[in-house]
Amino acid sequence: MKRTLLFPTILLLLVGFGCFFLSASAASRRGAIVFCEAGQIHTLDPQRMTWMQDIRVALGLWEGLTQYNPKTLEPMPGIAEKWTLSPDGRTYHFYLRSGARWSNGDPVTAQNFVFSWRRMLHPSTAGGYVALYFHLAGARAYFYSLVHHPRHHLAFSTVGVQARGPHELVVHLTRPCGYFLSLMAFPPFFPLDAGSMQRFLTHTGGFVHYNARWTRPPWLVTDGPYYLADWRFHEYLLLKPNPYYYDRTAVHCRRLLVENYPDAQSAFLAYQSGTVNVLSFIPGNFAPALLHLEAAGARHDVHYRPVFGTWFMDINCLRPPLNDRRVRQALAMAINKQAIVEDVLRLPERPVNVLVPPDSIPGYRSPAGIGYNPAGARKLLRQAGFPGGRGLRRLKFLIIGGGQTAEARIAQAVAHMWQKRLGIRTRIVQEESKIFHEDTVNHNFDVDLSGWYGDYRDPTTWLNLFRASNPNNHTGLNSRRYEALMREASRTVDPQNRLAALSAAEKLLVSDLIPAIPLYQASDGYMYNRNRIGGIRPNVQLITLFKYIHWRNHSGAAGAVR
């Protein structure tokens, strides 16, 4: 056995230590703020990202024409130090700072924006937010000409963006857009440095695109507060201050490590043991207990608040009996949302009867919507020809994930309410996310549980969801009245009147058409010690600007770390 066990032992020792030294080169945590994300980074290409964690990192690495004000999230000057808007509200002149530089020292020019926007409008870039670009005059036509006639497409000069010299960018819009400056602070509109990307240009299968490795250090060149010093797969991203950033003196964090723990419980343990300084989420299973401790004054690091998201149930309006809106209204009236929030979730969420989170958009007045009314629900169901639920088939209630998740508990509670109050039976089906999304896109469900987080501060980020042409409209709603109201709102130039028109459109949705039943406004938050870490401002859009994050005692030295 000496002989026979010796060989495997030596082999295992060699493999073990060899691989360990090969893989272990952990970044030093000395002085670093360790920021734990809720999910893995999917991409650092600002034009491909749709996930919150990707967007958060992009906001630290890049800067657009504007940037978010850390307090109000209103747009304020970024790479553009000033701008003018034409009287018809359709032409912006942006004037770029002469001091703006990329992390390799090159100046940031108007051409960088033109290059980036042109790339976004190419279908092979496959930018998830390309529809936001259709505010630019001619952009939609240009994009679809590339899709349908790749050989004889329109010239890029038909798109309303031009560089006039290195520091002036002129942008023409199809119609006035009140939140356009806000969009300029959003990653898909960030500039890109064509020079450093050139070597990644590839032509595969007739498609011209950039090899996605261009976003990896040391190749990635960015123009924001930080540059990407290191990125180890599934381990961490290391951000260090960009020495060429024009506002370098505002950046006080010398090293920022962005990590992700695949298991929320492990992340919480790491936070409790001090390995991680900031959690960008409240670990689900512990949330009720943590919030209770915070409310009782036993903890001071749970920062939880309502955010710019709504949880609702999509109803498939294409299939009988749900194509009858009286049935949909009855379903909505039979749900006691207060009970769901208090007894099922046990969280201080706010039940809502509307889709756009109330009080989250200045100047927007939320309509009333349909509340809890079991008697009214029974009456409507009787009128629709299904007294006491008789004659109704069993409804397929689709939810995401597996096991006893929050979604599953909500679905069970709702199913119970429908059964008890209306006599409607349901079949709850849990599916993995990719299958769930396939089934919702193909309308292969009756009711599903869904959430939507707004991308920009305007009601249309929700209301567009229910337009017939929107690929995210899983409900199949195609209402002439609703389309007319939305078109009218988009033609309205005056911001107040426009918001009023949008409010009327939402009223039609939530009190009459009911393609979806709103449940509650989403809440989320952070965990961090306010006395040690500053610069995080939990806000309604959950945007953390890494630019402002810092150790409270300003030395940033090791003593301050643990």
Binding site: R3, P8, F20, V147, R216, F233, S266, L269, T275, E438
Partner: protein, 305 residues
């Protein structure tokens, strides 16, 4: 022997091809679309993405992926972590899983053999009983229970070891122990049984009769013969443990291949699943071959060919 190895290598290539094809077509047959997410882009964008990954035509993709692997040794970009190619991902996660797996197996091997020997030597007495109870627990308790227990004890209550992550030796200790327990328990039972088997063999009695001392019998006759079942078990166990454990990696936040593989399946990340399956198959086939050769060296009665 040379012919035997050559024949086995040719067989291995065939096995790998079959596994690759079966995985590919199973992936095609499962529901779900890798490019669908919570926020749906316009249809033109989805089409462009499918084209980029060559997935518009399954037969074409099946051949094209294989061709690319054989000709360029490249498995293309992943879908869920698009800034990293499949090779990038395997390069950075496989060493992590291998290091952890090797350490776990080493612990399992030595402590398992020691425990098994103790059980056999003190057969029917309390060390044997303790070993039996321990190995029963080790085999039946799931790793997430053992791991969570160790985490609570050493990271939270005593705060002597880090809760997770990768890069330092202290971060290796808890996951390696957690991962080793089931192997340790199994090897202990295996060793105990086979030592008891061999101890009653005629040649042991002969050796004793010739006047060989207890230590001489143990090291010269008993252990070499008793270790063969352990070695046979080590082959597939090594392949399994080196390619990573989803549960342990998730629990201790270890950037290993096991987690990547399971998530790739859930995300329907076709190139990444194919890549990890290929690596796993190749390792398994190779290690089985190595074990067969090792067994032939350890036991002259085993003839290869």
């Amino acid at each position: 022997m040379k012919m035997y190895i050559l024949r086995r290598l040719v067989q291995s290539v065939l096995v790998i091809f079959l596994v690759y094809s079966a995985t590919f077509w199973l992936l095609m047959a499962t529901p779900g679309d890798p490019f669908l997410g919570h926020k749906m882009p316009p249809a033109a964008i989805l089409a462009a993405l499918k084209a980029r990954y060559g997935l518009n035509d399954p037969v074409h993709a099946w051949l094209a992926y294989m061709w690319r692997i054989i000709m360029h040794g490249d498995m293309g970009p992943t879908i869920s972590y698009e800034n990293w190619t499949v090779l990038d991902v395997i390069r950075s996660t496989l060493p992590v899983s291998m290091a952890l797996g090797a350490m776990a197996l080493l612990i399992g091997l030595w402590f398992g053999v020691a425990a098994g020997l103790m059980g056999a030597i003190y057969r029917g007495r309390w060390p044997d009983l303790a070993m039996t109870v321990f190995s029963l627990l080790g085999i039946s308790l799931p790793t997430f229970v053992i791991g969570s227990g160790l985490l609570m004890l050493f990271s939270v209550s005593l705060a002597v070891l880090p809760a997770g992550g990768w890069g330092t030796f202290s971060q290796l200790v808890l996951p390696a122990i957690t991962l080793s327990i089931p192997y340790l328990a199994y090897i202990a039972r295996l060793t105990r049984g086979s030592v008891l088997d061999v101890a009653s063999a005629d040649y042991i009695r002969t050796a004793r009769a010739k006047g060989v001392g207890a230590a001489g019998v143990l090291t010269g006759h008993l252990l070499p013969n008793a270790s063969i079942p352990v070695l046979t078990f080590l082959g597939p166990a090594t392949a399994g443990v080196l390619t990573g454990s989803f549960v342990v990696e998730k629990l201790f936040a270890i950037p290993g291949l096991g987690q990547v593989f399971v998530n790739a399946c859930l995300d329907k990340d076709i190139p990444l699943v194919l890549g990890t399956v290929l690596v796993y198959t190749a390792l398994l086939v190779l290690l089985n071959l190595v074990v067969d050769i090792l067994c032939a060296i350890a036991d002259p009665r085993i003839r290869l060919g």
